[in-house]
Amino acid sequence: MEEMNTILVWIKDSVITEEILIFMLFIPIIATLVNISRYIIGFKTFGIYAPMTLAFAYVFTGIRFGLLVTAAVIISSLISYSLLKQIRMHYLSRITINYIFITFILLGMLILNELSPWSITTDHHQIATVPPLGIILIAALSDFFVKEYVKKDFLTTIRSLIETVIIGVIGWFLLQSQNLQQFLVQNIWIHIPILLLNLFIGQYKELRFKDFFRFKKISND
């Protein structure tokens, strides 16, 4: 254990910053969270990457501003998808136009937020200080949303979206916890039980939590 701490100190001093180390140690935690939410609870998120990206993005943007950007991205995706539905064009052209919509709707929302008396930004997260990477990461959600919406019906897509955002928010909650950050850095061995937990989930055959609601009718009858 002592040796492990020595290695960690060396990594922090010589290889990467503590912030990057914390982020790296959190990747398996957030991925495990998505794994649990899929196979134990039954959440159908947009894959593993989307909720993970959201969790990290919300750390950059702050949760309230992050959720506002998420809402803007979804609304603009819906509008652009509905408008472009009838126009013949290549898939990537459609997605690009979608991003143009997102950019300007987002910009409009940011201006409105700044001018409005009900501004949601706080002292900690003024828009001017928000790293653009956070906004770009959230904007990427549009890609996942449109891809799903083309193949599935509206409600199914919205369900997946809500579940993705829920996992993103839980991930953000874990990520910004100072205690958990310190715990992970000081107890890197925790990733071994996490690995075992994922192996267990990989073998899990029982009903998912949502299945109990889905099949409630058979059970009652």
Binding site: Y91, L207, F213, R214, S219
Partner: protein
């Protein structure tokens, strides 16, 4: 609080994937089911009918030179690698004097709109993964007259789950006004469970409410969209045995061990397979109002059967409603050749059993119509507190066997016995005529407790410790092909 015991029969997605899809559906077979063109080709080679293909468009170049006038009045457009019915459009007619076709919802799609849809399919918008796809244009199935009156502007499809070459569960999906001609349950179609043995519908359900949180379903008894709505129960699906046979053959050909087969019935061509599914959904359990797990467990590890035997096995194992029908018609219970019977400890015995488990014992009993009075093994009778009676009878001066039945009957008539014994009875055991004690025992069968007379014998000729004779079987019908019906 959720009572998990109630859900033990239900097959969830986790178990479906781990226990059935991964071990039984090899990757090569999944490639077949995910590719409609390949599926059609394989099934056609094996003389299994599928909807006739009119055109296939593989590239945008082919689409640019497509002859729109060559399309018939009615046809179906589908993506080759589509999922969940996405991208499928059914056209019922052509608009007079125009290059435009009419959909099931009466909307008209012209050449340009259709070209956009084709391009979307070619771009892979409706397909698994992000790869490019192929447009399939095929003939529209003509609804069978029996099922037409239940479906609103669309063709009902029959979904069967086949496991280890045996049909396990079936349902039929009817399109409705809400579902816009589609037969999918989540789109608002009506799903009815189908009895595997008879091909008759049982329970029907429909989407009640679709919310962001969850979908809820409700039982429906009648069709919903007609002037005169018909009951959805007891619809006899035409060509049922042919459908079962076709579904089993689909599994043989595709090598998909846990398979969903979608079949529609064409008025002229009979059952047509239009899709194989290597990841069949689990909504079929709701339509049948029962879980898949017990049925699948029974079929694990069975040797491959011939198609006819597989159908017979499916009907025997999963056609529970035949018994209900027989019971209803005859007023008699249907029992198997061997049933589990609980024998209660002799209440007149002053020596009470030491362990609670000996207060009653459940044994396998043979329902033997060849004897009049029931028989009980001597060892079992002693364990259940009748040892006093058997010991007393042994103490009497009775010859071990008699020359003939008449002699034994005469002896038994003159023999005086105490109240432990109901009467001395004459039986033939190991080809010898003997006089044995008959006693009154309390048994429980089909949930009902009753007192019966049983002759105590050594039961050397049978493996069953209890034989139930004709006296106890007056109110039953016996199905010799079954055991443990109750």
């Amino acid at each position: 609080m959720i009572n998990t015991n109630q859900y033990k029969t239900i097959l969830g997605l986790n178990r479906r994937n781990q226990e059935y899809i991964r071990p039984y559906n090899p990757l090569s077979s999944k490639k077949i089911s995910d590719n409609k063109i390949l599926t059609k080709r394989l099934l056609s080679k094996a003389d299994i009918k599928t909807p006739k293909t009119i055109k296939i468009i593989r590239t945008k170049k082919q689409l640019a030179f497509f002859d729109w006038e060559s399309l018939p009045k009615s046809f179906v457009v589908k993506p080759n690698r589509g999922t969940g019915g996405n991208g499928i459009i059914v056209f019922y007619g052509k608009k007079k004097g125009e290059t435009a076709w009419i959909r099931s919802n009466h909307r008209v799609m012209n050449k340009e709109q259709l070209r956009i849809h084709f391009e979307k399919i070619l771009d892979g918008s409706f397909s698994m993964g992000d790869s490019k796809d192929i447009v399939i244009i095929e003939e529209r199935i003509l609804n069978h007259s029996t099922l037409k009156k239940y479906s609103f502007r669309g063709v009902p499809d029959i979904r069967l789950i086949i496991f280890n070459k045996v049909p396990v569960m079936a349902m039929i999906r009817f399109p409705t006004k809400i579902s816009d001609g589609k037969a999918n349950l989540h789109a608002g179609g009506i799903c009815a469970g189908v009895n595997i043995a008879t091909g008759v519908t049982t329970n029907a359900i429909q989407l009640k409410k679709s919310s962001v949180l969850e979908n809820t379903y409700t039982n429906v008894e009648y069709t919903t969209d007609f002037q005169e709505n018909l009951p959805l129960k007891d619809i006899q699906i035409p060509y049922w045995d042919k459908i079962l046979e076709t579904a089993i053959r689909c599994q043989e050909i595709s090598n998909i061990g846990f398979l969903g087969v979608d079949i529609a019935i064409d008025e002229n061509n009979g059952p047509l397979v239009f899709e194989l599914n290597a990841r069949p959904g689990l909504g079929i359990q709701m339509a049948n109002n029962m879980g898949l797990r017990p049925r699948l467990e029974r079929l694990k590890g069975i040797e491959p059967l011939s198609t006819k035997r597989a159908i017979r096995l499916a009907k025997t194992l999963f056609g529970g409603e035949i018994e209900e029908c027989m019971q209803f018609l005859s007023g008699k219970q249907v029992l198997g050749l061997v049933e589990k019977v609980t024998i209660h400890y002799n209440q007149n015995n002053s020596l009470k059993p030491n362990k609670s488990k000996n207060k009653s014992q459940t044994v396998k009993a043979l329902l033997d119509t060849g004897i009049v009075t029931s028989r009980i093994d001597e060892g079992l009778a002693n364990r259940m507190g009748y040892e006093k009676a058997t010991d007393y009878f042994k103490s009497l001066d009775i010859p071990p066997y008699f020359e003939n039945i008449e002699e034994a009957k005469k002896f038994a008539k003159e023999l005086k016995v105490n109240s432990e014994i109901s009467r001395p009875a004459v039986i033939v055991e190991s080809a010898k005529v003997k006089v044995k004690p008959a006693i009154q025992i309390d048994i429980q069968i089909t949930g009902e407790t009753r007192q019966i007379e049983a002759i105590v014998s050594t039961q050397k000729d049978t493996i069953y410790p209890l034989l139930l004779g004709r006296k106890e079987l007056k109110d039953c019908l016996i199905d010799p092909s079954k055991t443990f019906v109750k």
